[in-house]
Amino acid sequence: MNDKIVFGQYIYRNSAIHKLDPRVKLCVLFMMMIGVFLIPADNFILLGIAFLIPLTAVILSKISLFKYLKSLKQIAFIMVFSFAFQLFMPVGKNTTILTTLPICFSYVNIIVCIFILVIYFLIRRYLPFKFLFFLVCLIGIIYLLRYPILGKAFYTTKLDISEAGLIHGSFLVLRVFVIILASTSLTLTTKPTDLTNAIEWLLMPLEKIKIKTSIFAMMISIALRFIPTLFNETNKILKAQASRGVDFNEGKFKDQVKQIVSLLVPMFVISIKRAEDLADAMEARGYIPGAKRTKLVQMKFCIGDFIVFFVILALLVGLILGRCGLYAL
């Protein structure tokens, strides 16, 4: 029970970004998302300006760059995949073809490729630099497919790499990179509870159309409160079942599914019991869903918040006006 489980990625530092109002941070993230996808697909200068926003946040947050790269690592695979997809996509005729990759399939080539893939999946979990290894394997396979090493090729084709494909591909990757960097700097510098409060505040206009956002916010905050508790509970059940001979890691897929049931059933029973107790406790303490409540947490905008908000808003409005054709971007 004493294991300290930290939910979310929040890291405490005494920085300007940490002190920035969570509502402003959330708004800025939304504006970034809209803005980055409104930038025309070949305008690297505008994207560079957009990149400066999360970069400033990263530098000011006093959190080591390594933490940011860690979250980028998780989506690196998708980024490479979408880059490759864009790169080889056939585009219009009026672009220059940079290089052409001849690809030929012979039996030996295919067998060697499969062999590389098998090796890759077998040993990748023991390697420290998975992503680098993945790239090496990928390049190896592409290189291999260019030349029929042994045996006759039974099928040959060509893949064109065009200038437009290259630009589109790298632009897409950079866009995603900017967004991920921005959202990571939000989650690293904002407590989950502050985020909940921010979301509740931003959803306040919905109260006007009779949607009870306070219930929604209460649900999120209770979920945040109970995730570590349930996590501890899960660990306990896992150990209890393991001591009774349930093995969660080995066995056939069918057996593993059966074993998960032995975790899920007690989890559900305990959670429902907890929920019942919690509902009683909340009701006894006068909670009425949707009723008016005062708030202990009070968020106050300061001048810095306004400046950040309006600077980003001005950039977004400028971009939208440009896209509407008022002036050339």
Partner: protein
Amino acid sequence: MFIEFKDVSFKYYGNEQNILNQLSFSVEKGSMLAILGHNGSGKSTIAKLIMGLLEPTSGEIFIEGEKLNEKIVDTLRQKMGIIFQNPDNQFVGVTVKDDIAFGLENHQIPRDEMIRKIDEFAKLVDMQDFLNENPENLSGGQKQRVAIAGALAMDTDLIIFDESTSMLDPKGTKEINQMIQTLRKNYQKTIITITHNLEEALNADRVIVLNDGQIVLDGTPKEVLKEEAILEASGLKLIDGISLINMIQNYTIRIKNKEEIIQALWELTFKM
């Protein structure tokens, strides 16, 4: 009379048997009542009935002369607080501060007053250094103390302790029991403790023993303690001292030192 039960019966939906059978008793303002009973004797059901979390199948409950019903339950609840058994399941806030504030927010106390009350009552339960701590980093006893602070902050006249110490270690139990005494003496609260531990009931002004949904004993702790047969029939464990005296009553020994006591006790336990 602060609370009055008149012929209250209760059964859970779908059950044949009544959990509570024609129960009548009353609690005076400022007094301390202990409700004793084994597991399943219906003692926790009484707490939930008082808080209006359950509705009696038949009979009536009066709180300060007003009949408890759905319309006024929200107003009546402002006079009552309850500390449940499981310290984890009643901790609503993400931090200690948030949890004490939860009830205050529900009753729409203004923010300045809320902050003042949180400081005051956190200090009272000796949790002022943990205000920003998460529940995972607190012990069971500390969590229960936070729950008490939450109830006190709402300025309730009645506080119910529904087996609040049964999941705590001896240290936590002691802390909570001391807290109950403080509340009684310094704050003149009406207190109901629900327990299966006879020792915890000794501080009360009045003890009710429940068995099978009926009151089998009702009186001062002194009177109740005399009725050993009924207590044992109700599935309660006698106080260690009393059971020890019972054990050695017909066994004459000359005790010289501690080792001989242990020797005698060991022999007795195996004879029984």
